[in-house]
C-alpha cells in the first residue's frame, strides 16, 4: 500500500460509534425539525442531488435534440422551455447552494471548532426556503414552464412571452432567502464562533473561500431580489420601470440582474476552490503553498467580482467607454484565480502525491478550470467578445468553469468527506473509474462546443446548419458518457452507506479539526471544545499526535 495514504482501522473489530449525529434521534420529525448543522447539510445534500439529476435530465434532452440539425425531438418552444429550466434549476437550485449549503454547512463549524452555526434556526429556515422555492419552480415547470432563458431579459420576459415568468421569478426570489440565510450564518459563525487559538490565518482555506462566497451572497442576492420583484410587478401591475414604451430602460434590468448574477458565478466557484485547497494539500502531504496568498485571493475574487458585471452586456448597447473599463476590470479577476492555480501547482511540487478519487477530481478541476478561466479572458476582451458572445463558445466557457470546475470540486469534496459524513468509505477503484469517465465525458461534450462557437453556431436554437452536425454528435456522445459518470457515484455512494468499509476517525490522515473527532461526528461535534495550537495543514503536528497516542496506548 505504498501508493496510498489511506489508513483504515482493522475491519474485523472496527465499528461505527454507537452515539453519533445520525443515531442521536430517530424519526422523520427529528430530521425535519433538526437544528443540527450536520443534519441540515444532509437534507440539503439530498435535495440538491434531486435537483441536479432533474437539471441533468433536461440537459440530456437538450443534447438529444441537438443530435440532428432539424428540430425533431422537441418543438422549438419546448426546446426554449427545456434549456431555460435547465439553467434555472442548475444555477439557482444546484450550483449556488451546492458546496456551501451541503459540505459548508456540515464542515464549517467542525473546521473552526464550534458546536454549531451561530443561528441554527435560521439554518433550518434556509433549507425550508430552498425547498419552497424549489417546489414553486417545479410547479412553474409542470404547469407550462418558462422560456425566457435563465436571465429573464426584459422586455422579452415582461412583454413578449406568456409563460410562467411570475411563478419562476418568485421561486428564485424565495430561494434567494435561503442563500442569504446561509451566507449570513456563515459570516457570523466565522467571525464569532472560532475555537480558542483558531486565528484567521489558522483557518482552513475551505473556510476562507466560503467566507468570501458568503459575503457575495449577502451583498448581491438582495439586488437580484428587488430586480425580480420589479419584473413581476411589471407583468402583473404594469409599472413601467423596464418598459421601453413607457420610457423605461431594459438595459437597466441587465445592470441590476448582472450585479448579482456575475458575482453569483463566484458564489458558485469559490467554495469549490476551497475544497480543492483541502484535497490538494491532503493528498500531497504538504501545507498549501502560499497559504496567505490563496486566502486573500478568495477575498480579492469576491471584491473584484462586483466590478465586472457589465462584460455580460458588451453587445447590448452600453457605452463604449463602459466597455473599455469593464473589459479592463474583467482581466483583473484573472489574477487572483491564477494565483490559486499556481499555488496549487506549487503545493504539488515535491509533494508525496497519491491518487485517491478526490485527488483525481481535483486534478480534473485544475485542468478544466484553467481552460474555462482562460477562455473567460477571451470573452472579457471586448473585440473577441463581439464575435464569440451568444455562440456556443459562451456555453462551453461557462460549462468548463461550472461543470468542469465546480461540479468536479463538489464531487471531490463529497468523496473526500464522505467517510466523515457517513463513517464508511466509498469503493475506491469504482470511484476512480467514475472520476476518469467524468473527465473524458466532460471533454468530449464541451470541447467541441468551443469549436462550434468559433465557427459561429449560436446558442439557444433547436436547429442548426447541417455542417455543424459532426461536432454536435461528438458533444452528444460525450454527454452520454458524462451522464454515466454522474450516475455511478449516485449508485456506489448509496451502496457504501451499508456495505462500505468502516472509515475510522481519519482515513486520509488529514490535519483539519473535522478529522480529529469521531466519524460520523457527535451531535455536539466535540466532546470538549478543541484548542488550536498549530498552523493549518501542519502534517508534522499530526505525526507528533500519532506518536503521542502510540506512546500512551503502548
Amino acid at each position: 500500500m505504498s501508493d496510498t495514504i489511506v489508513l483504515l482501522p482493522d475491519q474485523s473489530t472496527a465499528r461505527i460509534p454507537k452515539r453519533n449525529y445520525l443515531t442521536q434521534e430517530n424519526g422523520l420529525l427529528s430530521w425535519l425539525l433538526t437544528r443540527d448543522h450536520k443534519r441540515i447539510g444532509i437534507l440539503y445534500l439530498i435535495s440538491i442531488s434531486f435537483f441536479f439529476l432533474l437539471g441533468g435530465s433536461l440537459a440530456g434532452l437538450i443534447r438529444l435534440e441537438l443530435l440532428t440539425p432539424q428540430s425533431d425531438l422537441l418543438a422549438t418552444d419546448t426546446y426554449n422551455k427545456v434549456f431555460t429550466m435547465h439553467g434555472v434549476i442548475m444555477i439557482f437550485f444546484f450550483l449556488v447552494p451546492s458546496v456551501p449549503a451541503t459540505l459548508g454547512n456540515f464542515f464549517l463549524p467542525l473546521m473552526i471548532g464550534a458546536k454549531d452555526l451561530a443561528l441554527p434556526k435560521m439554518n433550518l429556515a434556509s433549507w425550508y426556503m430552498y425547498m419552497a422555492g424549489g417546489l414553486l419552480a417545479l410547479w412553474a415547470m409542470i404547469t407550462g414552464g418558462v422560456d425566457t432563458g435563465w436571465t429573464f431579459t426584459t422586455p422579452l420576459s415582461t412583454h413578449f412571452v406568456n409563460t410562467n415568468v411570475i411563478t419562476t421569478g418568485l421561486a428564485i426570489f424565495i430561494s434567494g432567502f435561503s442563500s442569504i440565510f446561509t451566507g449570513l450564518n456563515f459570516i457570523v459563525t466565522i467571525h464569532k464562533m472560532r475555537a480558542p487559538g483558531m486565528t484567521w490565518f489558522r483557518l482552513p482555506l475551505f473556510v476562507w473561500s466560503n467566507y468570501a462566497a458568503s459575503v457575495l451572497m449577502v451583498l448581491g442576492t438582495p439586488v437580484l431580489g428587488i430586480t425580480l420583484i420589479l419584473v413581476v410587478l411589471e407583468r402583473t401591475v404594469g409599472i413601467g420601470i423596464f418598459d421601453p414604451t413607457k420610457g423605461g430602460d431594459p438595459l437597466l434590468f441587465q445592470h441590476l440582474f448582472w450585479f448579482y448574477s456575475h458575482p453569483a458565478v463566484y458564489i458558485m466557484i469559490l467554495p469549490g476552490m476551497g475544497v480543492i485547497s483541502e484535497v490538494i494539500s491532503t493528498f500531497s502531504r504538504k501545507r498549501v503553498f502560499g497559504y496567505t496568498a490563496v486566502a486573500f485571493s478568495s477575498v480579492a475574487i469576491a471584491v473584484f467580482g462586483f466590478f465586472v458585471w457589465a462584460h455580460h452586456m458588451f453587445i447590448m448597447g452600453i457605452s463604449n467607454y463602459a466597455v473599455l473599463v469593464f473589459s479592463l476590470l474583467t482581466m483583473l479577476v484573472a489574477v487572483p484565480s491564477a494565483i490559486k492555480i499556481f499555488n496549487w501547482a506549487l503545493t504539488l511540487y515535491k509533494g508525496s502525491i497519491t491518487f485517491e478519487t478526490p485527488m483525481i477530481y481535483a486534478f480534473g478541476f485544475m485542468g478544466l478550470f484553467t481552460i474555462g478561466g482562460m477562455t473567460g479572458v477571451f470573452l472579457g476582451t471586448s473585440g473577441t467578445d463581439i464575435h464569440l458572445t451568444e455562440t456556443y463558445f459562451i456555453v462551453a466557457h461557462f460549462h468548463f468553469v461550472m461543470v468542469g470546475g465546480m461540479l468536479m470540486a463538489f464531487l471531490a469534496g463529497l468523496h473526500f468527506w464522505w467517510p466523515k459524513m457517513t463513517g464508511r468509505m466509498y469503493p475506491e477503484k469504482v470511484s476512480q473509474f467514475a472520476a476518469v469517465v467524468t473527465f473524458i465525458g466532460f471533454n468530449l461534450t464541451f470541447f467541441p462546443q468551443f469549436i462550434l462557437g468559433t465557427l459561429g453556431m449560436p446558442r439557444r436554437y433547436a436547429s442548426y446548419p447541417p455542417e455543424f452536425q459532426v461536432l454536435n454528435v461528438f458533444s452528444t456522445a460525450g454527454a452520454t458518457i458524462l451522464g454515466v459518470g454522474y450516475l455511478l457515484p449516485v449508485l456506489y455512494l448509496t451502496w457504501s452507506l451499508k456495505y462500505g468499509a468502516i472509515a475510522g476517525d481519519n482515513p486520509w490522515q488529514a490535519t483539519g479539526l473535522e478529522w480529529q473527532t469521531q466519524s460520523p461526528p457527535l451531535t455536539e461535534n466535540f466532546t470538549q471544545i478543541p484548542i488550536m495550537d498549530h498552523e493549518a495543514y501542519d502534517y508534522e503536528w499530526l505525526e507528533r499526535q500519532k506518536e503521542k497516542e502510540v506512546a500512551s496506548v503502548g
Binding site: H191, K192, V215, L219, V223, L251, L252, H255, F259, F306, F307, W309, A310, I318, S319, N320, Y321, A322, V325
Partner: protein, 102 residues
C-alpha cells in the same frame, strides 16, 4: 473606551434619545424649507446631505452603532461601499453613453 463596549450592550440615556429626536425633526423642517428656496444644483445636494446627517444620527445613537462591536460597524461600511459601487458603476455606463447631455 473601556473593555465592555465590545459587547454592544449599552443603555442609551433617554436624554440622548430626545436630543436626537429634536435634531431629526429639525432636519425634516430644514429639508422642507430648503426645498422651497432656489439653490439651483444645490437643492438636491442639500436635501441628500441633510438626509445623510439624519441617517447617521439614527444609526449612531438610536441604533447604538457607536457602541456596537467593530464587525457591526464593518458591515455598515461594506454596505455603504457596495451601494456606492452599484451607483458608480451603473452611472459609468449611463454618463458615458451620452456625454454632456447627462
Amino acid at each position: 473606551m473601556s473593555e465592555p463596549q465590545e459587547s454592544g450592550h449599552r443603555i442609551i440615556n433617554p436624554r440622548v434619545s430626545f436630543l436626537v429626536y429634536l435634531a431629526l425633526v429639525a432636519g425634516v423642517g430644514l429639508t422642507i424649507v430648503a426645498s422651497y428656496q432656489n439653490l439651483g444644483i444645490f437643492n438636491p445636494i442639500l436635501a441628500v446631505a441633510i438626509a445623510l446627517v439624519q441617517a447617521s444620527l439614527v444609526a449612531l445613537f438610536s441604533m447604538h452603532l457607536k457602541y456596537s462591536p467593530r464587525v457591526s460597524k464593518l458591515s455598515v461600511g461594506s454596505g455603504i461601499f457596495m451601494l456606492l459601487t452599484l451607483f458608480a458603476m451603473v452611472l459609468l455606463d449611463y454618463m458615458s453613453r451620452a456625454w454632456g447631455s447627462w
